[in-house]
Symmetry: C2
Subunit: 197 residues, 2 copies
C-alpha cells in the first residue's frame, strides 16, 4: 500500500496532504491540528505522512510556499505583459488577485501569524515570493506613471494601498452576501482606476 | 499597600494593567504571557491584579474595549460634524485613524486572532464598536455622494476598501523608514480623495 502510494500517487499524496492541512489549519487553527488528525482526515497513515513531510511546521511552510508560487506564476506574467497597457495589466491583476485569494482561501493562512512558527530559513523564500509580487505591482504602477496613464505621487504607497485593499477583501467577502465575486472585482477595478488616475 | 492602591490609585492601576498587558501581548503574544509576568512587569502583586480583573481573557477584552471606545470617541464626532463638508470629514478621519493606530499600536492587537479566545458575550460589544465606526464612515461617504462631492458606485465597497487601506498601514509602516507618519497621512488623504472623486 505504501509502495503503491509512493509509486503511482507520490506527488499527488504530497499535494493532498497540503490541501488537507490547509483546510484543517484554516478550520481548527494550526496549534489545534495534530499530525494524527491530518493523517486521519486525508485517509493515510501517519508514517505515510512523515514519508512526505518531516513535521507539522514543514507542512505549514509547504502550504504557504505552494500557494505563493502558484499565485505569483498566475499574476506576475500579466503584470509584466508588454502587449498590454499598464492600466489593463492592473485591471487584470486585480481580477486574478481577488479570484485566486477567494478560490484558495483555506491555503491563504495569515502569513503574519506564522512568523513565530517558522524559522528564519523557512521564512526567507516566502518573504522573497511576497516581495517578487510586490515589486511586479510596483513596476507596473511606475510604468503607468511614466506613460502618463497614472498620476500617483508616491509609487510605493500606492502599491501598499492597493495590496492592502485587495488583501482585505477575503476577510469580509462572503458568497452568501448580496454581491458576487465578479461584482466585487468590477467595483475594485473602478476604484483602483480612480485611485491611480 | 493594597488599600493605598485601591483608594488613591484604583482607576490608574486598572489602566496601567491594560497598558502593560497590551505591551506584553504585543511583544510576546497573548498565549506566552502569564498573569504572573504581567503583575511583575507592572510591579504589582498577582492578587492586586486579580482585584481588578478576574482573568487574562478579561484583561484582553478590556484592552480591546478601551482602545475601541477611545478610537470611536475621537473619530466618530468628526465623521458626523455638520459644519464640515464630507470631503473634509473624510480627510480629518483619515489623519486621525492613521495617527491613533500608529500611536497606540500595542493596544491594537489583531482582533480577528482573538475571536477564539473571547466568548460570545465578550465579543458582542467589541463587534458593535467596530460596526459603529464602519457605519459612521459609510454615512459620510453616502452623504458626500448625495451632495455630489463623491461619485462612488458602491458605498459599502468604498467603505471596506478605505478601511482596509487604512488598517493595512500599521502592518508595514515603520518610524525608521524614509517617510514620516505625516507624509503617509498626506498621501493617503490624496489617494482616498481620488478613489472617492
Amino acid at each position: 500500500m505504501a509502495r503503491k502510494l509512493s509509486l503511482d500517487g507520490g506527488p499527488s499524496v504530497a499535494e493532498e496532504i497540503l490541501t488537507g492541512a490547509a483546510r484543517l489549519f484554516y478550520d481548527r487553527g494550526y496549534d489545534a491540528t495534530s499530525i494524527r488528525d491530518l493523517a486521519e482526515t486525508i485517509g493515510i497513515s501517519s508514517s505515510t505522512l512523515y514519508h512526505h513531510y518531516t513535521n507539522k511546521q514543514e507542512i505549514l511552510r509547504a502550504v504557504l510556499h505552494r500557494f505563493m508560487v502558484n499565485f505569483n506564476a498566475a499574476i506576475i506574467p500579466v503584470l509584466r505583459d508588454p502587449t498590454l497597457s499598464a492600466t489593463k495589466r492592473v485591471r487584470e491583476a486585480t481580477r486574478l488577485h481577488l479570484e485566486i485569494t477567494d478560490e484558495r482561501r483555506p491555503e491563504l493562512l495569515r502569513f503574519t501569524q506564522f512568523r513565530n512558527v517558522l524559522d528564519e530559513a523557512q521564512l526567507r523564500p516566502l518573504i522573497q515570493l511576497q516581495w517578487d509580487y510586490h515589486d511586479a505591482v510596483k513596476s507596473v504602477i511606475k510604468e503607468g506613471r511614466d506613460t502618463g496613464e497614472f498620476t500617483v505621487d508616491d509609487v510605493d504607497l500606492a502599491t501598499m494601498a492597493i495590496l492592502d485593499m485587495l488583501n482585505g477583501v477575503r476577510s469580509w467577502f462572503s458568497h452568501s452576501g448580496a454581491l458576487s465575486m465578479n461584482d466585487v472585482v468590477q467595483r475594485y477595478v473602478t476604484m483602483i482606476d480612480k485611485l491611480l488616475s
